[in-house]
């Protein structure tokens, strides 16, 4: 089963993604390596800080753009992993090791079967 692991991080954990700004910095590389070594990683990406986002919306026949992320939350989507594991229990075990779990939150979602 494939799952997306969405990393929600605090803004201060991810400002400019410099290790000195992120107490979890050294842990991210180690976590990604562990996923790769386990042979479960399918894909993923780290995102730039949410202030770099541009949001596009077409509503009531009007095109609206604004600077910044779609959802203004305290935790921001900092990146994601796609993994292939036997079941939800295994996906949760990986999510718990994700550095964002202890500083922000991690959301685990099954991918739709195509």
């Amino acid at each position: 089963m494939q799952f997306a692991i969405l990393n929600y991080v605090m803004p201060h954990n991810f400002a400019d993604r410099r290790p000195e700004n992120d107490p979890d910095g050294p842990a991210w590389g180690a976590y990604t390596k562990a996923l790769l070594d386990a042979g479960v990683m399918v894909g993923g990406a780290a995102l730039s800080p949410s202030h770099t986002a541009t949001t596009v919306r077409i509503a009531d026949g009007r095109r609206e753009l604004h600077d910044g992320p779609y959802a203004e939350t305290k935790e921001q989507l900092g990146g994601f992993y796609l993994i292939d594991v036997p079941d939800l229990d295994t996906a949760l075990a990986w999510a718990a090791r994700n550095p964002a779990a202890s500083s922000g939150a991690v959301e685990v979602r099954p991918l739709m079967k195509t």
């Binding site: 979890d24 050294p26 842990a27 180690a30 562990a34 386990a38 939800l88 718990a96 090791r97 202890s102």
Partner: protein, 412 residues
């Protein structure tokens, strides 16, 4: 004010006697889920009833009587009037004349059912935590790192299985008791190790689980005083409990590994009780895994008077442990002890010999491997191994500890 007293009284009974009351109900009806429903309904009624008429002199007896009536009423509604009445009469009969039984305490019977071979072993501990201690499924799910809805389903399925399969709440002879207690002890041990592992992830839940494991193992000790493994398990959990606060730096809260702990911060009273339980287990002839594990802990604890750790003794004890219980943890502990006695080469060979499938995702394996490689002077490989350990670590305090350790490997 009166209402506060009534609800406080109900809450107090629920907290202190939940397992006992549920056991009394379930042992008779053999339906744990129905007994839980009846008991929570009785607790709700207690709040309004006790507010009106005052708290009864024996609140537990009141709750059991009301819960039995609720259970019988429900049964009557769902099945048929005749069978419900029959069951109610049966229950009343049982209440009036308590038959002599082999196993004296209803809670032990309930624990034995929770750890029945027909129930999947993975659910033994969650089931026991819920039905004997009344912990809710959400909290159990968090502790076991399982989705709350999944944990709820697994618990309900197990209870349905107990009811449908008619798992016996009676034990016909003592030898069956001895056999089944092992499964109960394994479930308690699982609760305790989980509590230990959670110490740096969720300190409150960790303390709760460890306390609950200690409580359950003490209860087994009372119910089966001559069971050597139960004594040994009590010793083991108490040795660990004595070191609980010393695992954290008192100022920074950082993780402190066993070999760097200040023995004066260990709880001396708890250690004395652990040592006494271990001696008792030894007199009873404990030769199982808990005996060896507790003895290893006793050698570590002896550092508080001798000032040094007797690694030769620990290495011997791990060899004994491997004979009765060759878990990956025992293999790792043995390799570390062997390295501490000076034989780092053999220790690394032993780690290499472990099947990759068992070790590759096991965080303690990579911590131990990094330590041994560093002792062997191979800092590059030690760094790689510790990076792997960092990637597999869940607790932030331990992750920080390992990141610092990795920097130390680089500096040298």
């Amino acid at each position: 004010m009166k209402q506060a007293t009534a609800s406080m009284a109900a809450e107090l009974v629920a907290r202190l006697s939940y397992g006992k009351l549920l056991a009394m109900l379930a042992v008779r009806s053999r339906d744990i889920a129905a007994a839980e429903d009846a008991l929570s309904e009785a607790l709700l009624r207690a709040i309004s009833e006790w507010e009106r008429a005052g708290v009864p002199t024996n609140p537990e007896a009141w709750l059991v009587q009301v819960a039995r009536r609720i259970d019988a009423d429900r049964w009557r509604r769902t099945v048929s009037a005749a069978r419900g009445a029959e069951r109610w009469l049966l229950l009343e009969d049982e209440r009036m004349s308590e038959p002599a039984r082999d196993v004296p305490d209803d809670r032990l019977r309930l624990m034995l059912v929770c750890a029945h071979p027909a129930i999947e072993p993975e659910i033994h501990t969650p089931l026991m935590l819920q039905v004997v201690l009344g912990i809710d499924a959400r909290r159990i799910a968090s502790a076991f790192l399982v989705a709350p809805s999944t944990m709820g389903q697994r618990l309900s399925r197990a209870k349905a299985r107990i009811a449908e399969a008619g798992l016996p709440f009676e034990l016909t002879d003592r030898s069956a008791l001895a056999e089944r207690i092992d499964a109960v002890l394994a479930a308690i041990y699982a609760a305790y190790t989980l509590g230990w592992d959670l110490a740096f992830i969720d300190a409150d839940r960790s303390a709760d689980l460890v306390d609950e494991a200690i409580w359950l193992v003490r209860l087994i000790g009372e119910l089966a005083p001559d069971h050597s493994d139960a004594r040994a398990l009590l010793a083991l959990v108490l040795f660990a409990e004595a070191r609980r606060s010393a695992r954290r730096d008192s100022e920074t809260g950082a993780f402190v590994p066993l070999y760097e702990q200040d023995p004066t911060r260990w709880n001396q009273n708890v250690l004395a009780e652990a040592e006494s339980a271990l001696r008792h287990a030894g007199r009873l002839g404990a030769k199982g895994r808990f005996g060896f594990e507790a003895a290893i802990q006793a050698v570590h604890a002896a550092r508080r008077s001798s000032g040094a750790t007797d690694w030769v003794a620990i290495e011997h004890l791990y060899r004994g442990l491997l004979l009765v219980s060759p878990t990956i943890g025992a293999h790792i502990g043995h390799a570390v002890a062997l390295a501490e006695t000076g034989d780092v080469g053999s220790a690394l060979e032993r780690l290499d010999a472990l099947p990759y499938g068992r070790s590759s995702m096991h965080q303690p394996y990579w911590v131990a491997r990094a330590h041994l490689l560093n002792l062997n002077g191979d800092r590059g490989s030690a760094r790689e191994a510790i990076t792997k350990a960092i990637g597999l670590t869940e607790a932030p305090a331990i992750r920080r500890f390992l990141v610092q350790r990795r920097e130390r490997f680089a500096d040298n």
